[in-house]
Symmetry: C2
Subunit: 82 residues, 2 copies
């Protein structure tokens, strides 16, 4: 049972930033996004990716590769549109 | 070494949404925030909290109580200011 909860959390945590990335690029409305928050979150998912690589956990690696890409896209939009 | 990376990721993942929550309430500029993303992320941290309670992992519980509060505050600002 615990595994399913953890698994669902991992999947949801991976896909949840796709709508935000989409919205940022589609509307260019990024003034309300906090750059410090998104940079720290980019660092967070990068660290989880490094951690996944260190312990050799494939689900963690895959989830955080997707996470890094989505958050990188949000940060790029924020830097571009202000 | 792995533990330190995981630990740093967990701490950063907890504090990183505080600036966003602060910004949302201070500026009321929430139009660029994606409601679906933030609702899914609220669900994500809630599930991690449930998972932490299920497996009895105190750091996971503490980190995600803070996470739920920060994200709940962002979602509330988004619902209030649009």
């Amino acid at each position: 049972m615990e595994q399913y909860v953890g698994f669902l959390a991992a999947i949801l945590g991976t896909v949840c930033w796709v709508p935000q990335a989409w919205k940022a690029w589609a509307t260019r409305d990024t003034s309300g996004l906090s750059l410090p928050s998104n940079l720290m979150f980019l660092m967070t998912v990068s660290l989880w990716l490094v951690y996944g690589l260190m312990v050799g956990d494939l689900p963690l690696i895959l989830a955080n590769v997707c996470g890094v890409l989505a958050v990188l896209s949000i940060v790029s939009a924020k830097l571009k549109f202000g």
